[in-house]
């Protein structure tokens, strides 16, 4: 019954649109061309970055305090990651327990006494994820849902560390949209593509900014230079 009603509504919506725009009958190719023309304007309609180098632009943005609750550092090799994480845990006096994304390159590291697992619970303190991409324009890292990437890893812990390989740092959101399009062409679009630019925040009570509304309060981005 519901399906029938939904089909009727569908037909009525399409017919109402057609009646409202009776003269517009262009083919799909022409429409696509017109849509692509609009994208040519992006070059002149986006903010200038503080550096031509995407990594530097991302770092400068974070260091200028433009990405809420976020700090960053660079490491030259993946083997340096446990030491950096240890320092971060020490800085905030956090327990030596880490929820780590279930990928080999992270699981196989020598974590120097930090316990690591992927069993995410509602009150976890620190999470560590491997970002697919970074975006200099917005100071974002991007995660894709997968077998190894539970989306909740990025939202349940109060402290979050994200590792971004330097080679995956893009200049603009437009660059990421092109990549997403390529992924789609291969039929590999993940369920979720999350662009995360800072920590969970709210200004809902008297306009005062509070970090850690529902998700992380502190975010630390580690840029890995050897990739």
């Amino acid at each position: 019954m519901n399906n029938q009603k939904s089909d009727m509504s569908r037909a009525s919506i399409f017919s109402a649109i057609k009646n409202a725009t009776p003269t517009i009958t262009k083919d799909a190719e022409t429409i696509q061309q017109e849509a692509l023309e609009i994208l040519k304007e992006s070059e002149f309609a986006r903010p200038k970055l503080s550096s031509d180098d995407a990594t530097e632009a991302l770092v400068l943005r974070i260091e200028a305090g433009l990405v809420i609750g976020t700090s960053c550092e660079k490491i030259s090799a993946l083997d340096d990651l446990p030491a950096s994480v240890n320092q971060f845990l020490g800085k905030y006096s956090l327990p030596q327990e880490l929820k780590v994304q279930g990928i080999d390159r992270l699981q196989k590291l020598n974590w120097q006494g930090i316990s690591t697992d992927i069993d995410i619970q509602k009150d976890n303190t620190v999470g560590l994820c491997w970002a697919e991409y970074g975006i200099a324009e917005t100071g974002s890292f991007v995660v894709h849902s997968s077998t190894e990437m539970p989306i909740l890893l990025n939202f349940l812990p109060l402290y979050l560390i994200a590792v971004i390989p330097k080679s995956k740092i893009l200049h603009y959101m437009d660059d990421y949209a092109l990549i997403a399009n390529e992924i789609a062409k291969k039929g590999e679009t993940p369920r979720n593509m999350c662009l995360i630019s800072g920590v969970s925040g709210t200004t809902d009570i008297e306009g005062v900014l509070v970090q850690g509304a529902h998700g992380p309060e502190i975010l630390h981005i580690i840029i890995l230079e050897d990739q």
């Binding site: 109402a16 409202a20 429409i31 002149f44 917005t138 909740l152 369920r191």
Partner: protein, 474 residues
């Protein structure tokens, strides 16, 4: 709290103006938003180009709406989503409730969506056996208070910290006894955590519908959308059909405009694209994804020559800069959408007959159009609704009489000038020390402020005198 109705606009306004702190509370948020937006635009010299590009994206999609709707449906189905269509708000609400009942849902979590409010989803749940849990902090506050939203970005802006303290102490299982705002936010975090993870169904809106991929998109600062959507087995999206854009690349310019215009931030913390249900081996995510595409007056706007309004990306900049909104607040409009955008939308969602008064609550100062990120000519649209309201005879008889009397006088210059001369004399009778505190027919003005005493002569009398003096001088 009693929910205001759009047809009671004047009564609602009187009620709002009688609240002593309301104006201060509204301005605390809107003035800050206005300042932060101005700073964000100053730091983005390409803003005008971005605005033109954003407008073109929306106009293009609206022009080919049927093409893009069909594309979206095809691609969303290919991603494994189930697509539903609803011509009205009631139909959309019924679809959502039916899905919940099919899954025997006891409680649902909901991430803020103005469309959800527009179609009456919140009330529908409250009148059902299913518990509704709002997860956006502001929506959580107004749910506890039983209020409707008063702003589309800050729905709880009318509630003070003291109000929130009382509400959280009464309703939270483990409340804070501190009055610090950070502690209040922590209290909400604790309260909502378990609810996120034990919800049966997660409901969200969608800021954009990407036609070429069938993706929906949530944009939040709190991250509550992802926490609402990921743990439950079922995700339901409700979205207006005007949310379409051709692709992610076309959503990007609108994302640049949206947050700068709404809060003055360059970007929101969380932008997530959702593509159907979880994949076979995904670590988490819902097993079923339903997308309810809602018309509810949008195709009527297209047919009525109001297609420019369909560009709206719901940033709230027009109300943050509106002198009327800043005085009366959101509740007075009696609609989900207040301020200038609401004055155009509400007559289409309800009817012009019940919401024509809102179109007159506008000074036509043009601020809303100046700050609109997609160049919606709001004053033009408001004027055209006023004209329609006049043609349909929705105006009160007194207004119609006054306008018709003015029209009759204006067509007869001599009678008009005589009338003006008498008017000056009449007004002077009520003047005391240069100000008029009371005069018949002007109580709407003099109730809240004095009227200045007119010059001794009318404009035409002064003009003639000046002209004569000039020619005498020559």
């Amino acid at each position: 709290m009693q929910v205001n109705k759009p047809e009671d606009f004047y009564k609602n306004v009187s009620k709002a103006l009688a609240q002593p702190d309301l104006k201060m509370i509204i301005r605390r948020t809107t003035d800050k938003a206005e300042k932060k937006r101005a700073e964000a635009i100053a730091n983005f010299p390409e803003f005008e180009n971005a605005r033109m590009q954003g407008q073109k994206v929306k106009d293009h999609t609206i022009k080919y709406m049927d093409h893009y709707l069909a594309e979206f449906e095809k691609n969303a189905l290919a991603q494994g989503a189930i697509v539903h269509w609803a011509s009205t708000g009631e139909e959309a609400t019924k679809i959502v409730l039916d899905i919940c009942r099919q899954h025997k849902a006891k409680k649902v979590t909901r991430s803020k969506s103005m469309l959800g409010e527009e179609i009456g989803l919140t009330h529908a749940f409250d009148n059902s056996e299913i518990e509704r849990i709002e997860t956006d902090l502001a929506e959580h506050i107004i749910q506890l208070a039983g209020d409707p939203p008063s702003h589309i970005v800050w729905p709880a802006m009318h509630r003070s910290r003291e109000d929130v303290v009382k509400l959280f102490r009464e309703f939270h299982l483990d409340p804070t006894y501190s009055e610090e705002i950070t502690d209040l936010v922590r209290s909400a975090r604790r309260d909502l955590r378990t609810k996120f993870l034990t919800s049966d169904i997660g409901i969200s809106g969608s800021n954009f519908l990407l036609a070429d991929s069938g993706s929906t998109c949530t944009v939040t600062n709190e991250g509550n959308a992802e926490l609402t959507i990921t743990p439950p087995k079922v995700h339901i999206v409700t979205a207006g059909i005007e949310k379409l854009v051709p692709s992610m690349a076309h959503a990007v310019p609108l994302l640049r405009l949206l947050t700068r215009s709404a809060t003055g931030a360059e970007i929101t913390q969380y932008i997530t694209f959702h593509n159907g249900p979880k994949r076979a081996n995904d670590a988490d995510g819902p097993e079923e994804c339903h997308i309810v595409l809602v018309d509810n007056g949008r195709t009527k706007m297209l047919a009525d020559g109001m297609e420019e309004m369909l560009r709206c990306i719901r940033c709230g900049a027009c109300m943050n800069h509106c002198v009327v909104y800043k005085h009366i607040g959101g509740h007075a409009y009696g609609s989900v959408y207040p301020g200038p955008m609401g004055s155009v939308l509400t007559p289409h969602l309800d009817s012009l007959e019940v919401a024509n008064k809102q179109t007159h609550a506008c000074t036509l100062n043009g601020r809303c159009e100046e700050v609109c990120p997609v160049n919606i000519p709001l004053p033009k649209l408001i004027r055209s609704l006023r004209a329609r309201s006049w043609q349909k005879k929705y105006e009160p008889l007194t207004n119609r009489f006054i306008v018709q009397a003015f029209a009759a006088l204006a067509k007869r210059p001599r009678v008009f000038q005589l009338f003006c001369s008498c008017g000056v004399v009449f007004m002077k009778l009520f003047s005391r020390q240069g100000w008029i505190k009371y005069m018949p027919l002007t109580s709407g003005w003099t109730r809240n402020r004095d009227l200045i005493e007119p010059e001794s002569k009318t404009f035409m009398q002064q003009y003639r005198k000046m002209k004569k003096a000039k020619s005498d001088g020559v």
